[in-house]
């Protein structure tokens, strides 16, 4: 069993037109920029994979990461909780032009729907969004005198996530708050593709400290010096401001 591949192009080769792709990260923290870059490059070179449904907390910022996917025209739909950011022009323009579909999901419901997808729970009830526009059309049920909204699981064809350590069996750790949605997405996707800062030998991660057990992971590519989306965005903003800090 060896889930490591040396080539980032090979890692993403199975992602096809029309797929649903979960992308790890909360804003720039945990965004798998190199995997996204490779996807965008492939789309620009070959016209595929297009018409993607992207699941992420946000809808891109600036011109890198998910925003670059949107600018490239690869994204048909976004399922997210917060499509606004400092510079969410990419999404906003396409959304107002009617060129991209939005399914807005409260953040905790988004997380729980993804976990449910990974855990074989087709639906659950939550107090979140009851009585709001978000709940329109969804079944409602009463438990112990209180009303709850029924939500469905979310699954994906592929998850692309960023990890800290990985071994060939697929065990993962993350870096600080970059963990966020990644462990859930790894569970909920048919295929999980990981860019890890460092590949270690099996046993190199203490069994007590494994965050994502290898059963949820399919392909790993080592990217030692990965870009940090937020840091890049801030550098870009500084340059735009004429270099004043």
């Amino acid at each position: 069993m060896n889930k490591i591949t040396p080539s980032i192009e090979d890692a993403i080769a199975g992602i096809e037109d029309g797929m649903t792709v979960m992308i790890g990260g909360f804003g720039g923290s945990g965004a798998p920029i190199e995997l996204i870059d490779a996807l965008v490059a492939r789309y620009k070179a070959t016209g595929s994979p297009g018409r993607l449904t992207v699941i992420n907390n946000n809808a891109g910022n600036g011109a890198i990461g998910i925003a670059a996917m949107i600018y490239a025209g690869m994204v048909a739909k976004i399922i997210c909780s917060f499509p606004r950011s400092t510079d969410s022009r990419a999404f906003t323009e396409r959304y107002h032009a009617g060129e991209i579909e939005l399914e807005l999901v409260p953040q905790g419901t988004l997380a729980e729907r993804i976990r449910a997808g990974g855990a074989g729970i087709p639906a659950f009830y939550t107090p979140t969004s009851f009585g709001t526009d978000i709940a329109k059309g969804k079944p409602v049920a009463e438990f112990d005198g209180r009303l709850y909204v029924q939500e469905r699981w979310l699954k994906a064809d592929v998850a692309i996530i960023k990890a800290e350590l990985a071994d060939r069996k697929g065990n993962l750790t993350y870096n600080k708050a970059a963990r966020n949605f990644a462990p859930l997405m790894a569970m909920a996707a048919a295929t999980t593709i990981v860019q890890a800062r460092q590949v270690v030998e099996p046993g190199g991660i203490d069994p007590e400290h494994v965050v994502t057990p290898g059963i949820f992971v399919d392909t790993i590519v080592e990217i030692a010096d990965a870009k940090q989306e937020e840091a890049l965005l801030r550098e870009a903003a500084l340059l735009q401001d004429g270099g004043t800090a």
């Binding site: 923290s29 906003t92 959304y95 953040q107 949605f181």
Partner: protein
């Protein structure tokens, strides 16, 4: 309008009611200011939706770690005893009622406890984030807000006109003029600025203010 509290003073007042040892989520933006005014000697544990418990102050400029941020995507630091967890576990803390206090902003709060704070209507790109979870996530759900909108309309109303964030969820409102609790679908006035009369306060409030027991003076230092 006569004197009113600054945002910092509203945040200060809200901070006084956070007890020692409380687990607290401060909403993005204005509510984050509450952390500045934690009374000395109290230990408060802050939760952020993106999977950190017990984070500390912002790091000095230039020393940010952008993998260590809060829900407002601002860089933070860690206190000794902090922990990381995934987003589902983070919202288990929220939805499961494990937080003691959540402090949020508001466009409108209704006397029945309804809150509108996520959408000003269908024109802009909708974005809800964690607000709809947080309003069901804490033993006390507090709102901090100016008492009226920029053009002088009441933010405390009989029924919200904007899209709701949650139904019957708000317990306490700290405004630039008053402290109001929501009890049995009524605004119960607990404190008001001494410089404003009951009639003046009622005139800028969109629903009936009930006085039950003492209504204290809202005294806040310059901060």
């Amino acid at each position: 309008m006569k004197a009113k509290l600054t945002n910092a003073q509203i945040a200060w007042r809200a901070a006084q009611d956070i007890p020692d040892g409380a687990y607290v989520n401060l909403g993005i933006g204005f509510p984050e200011m509450v952390a500045k005014f934690k009374p000395k000697g109290r230990e408060v544990i802050y939760h952020t939706e993106n999977g950190v418990l017990d984070f500390g102050e912002a790091p000095p400029a230039g020393e940010e770690d952008w993998d260590l941020i809060n829900a407002g995507k601002k860089a933070v630091t860690l206190n000794a005893g902090a922990s990381f967890f995934n987003h589902a576990d983070s919202f288990a803390m929220v939805r499961g009622g494990h937080l003691d206090v959540a402090i949020l902003g508001a466009y409108e709060v209704a006397e029945n406890g309804d809150l509108a704070n996520w959408s000003t209507g269908p024109k802009s790109v909708p974005a809800v984030g964690g607000a709809m979870d947080l309003v069901h996530g804490a033993k006390r759900v507090c709102v901090i807000t100016d008492h009226v909108t920029k053009d002088g309309k009441p933010k405390l109303v009989e029924r919200c006109s904007l899209p709701l964030t949650g139904v019957g969820c708000v317990t306490t409102v700290y405004t630039s003029l008053a402290v109001v609790e929501i009890i049995d679908k009524r605004f119960v006035l607990r404190e008001k600025l001494p410089s404003i009369s009951m009639e003046e306060l009622q005139a800028v409030t969109g629903a009936k203010l009930v006085v039950e027991g003492a209504c204290k003076d809202l005294n806040v230092p310059e901060v």
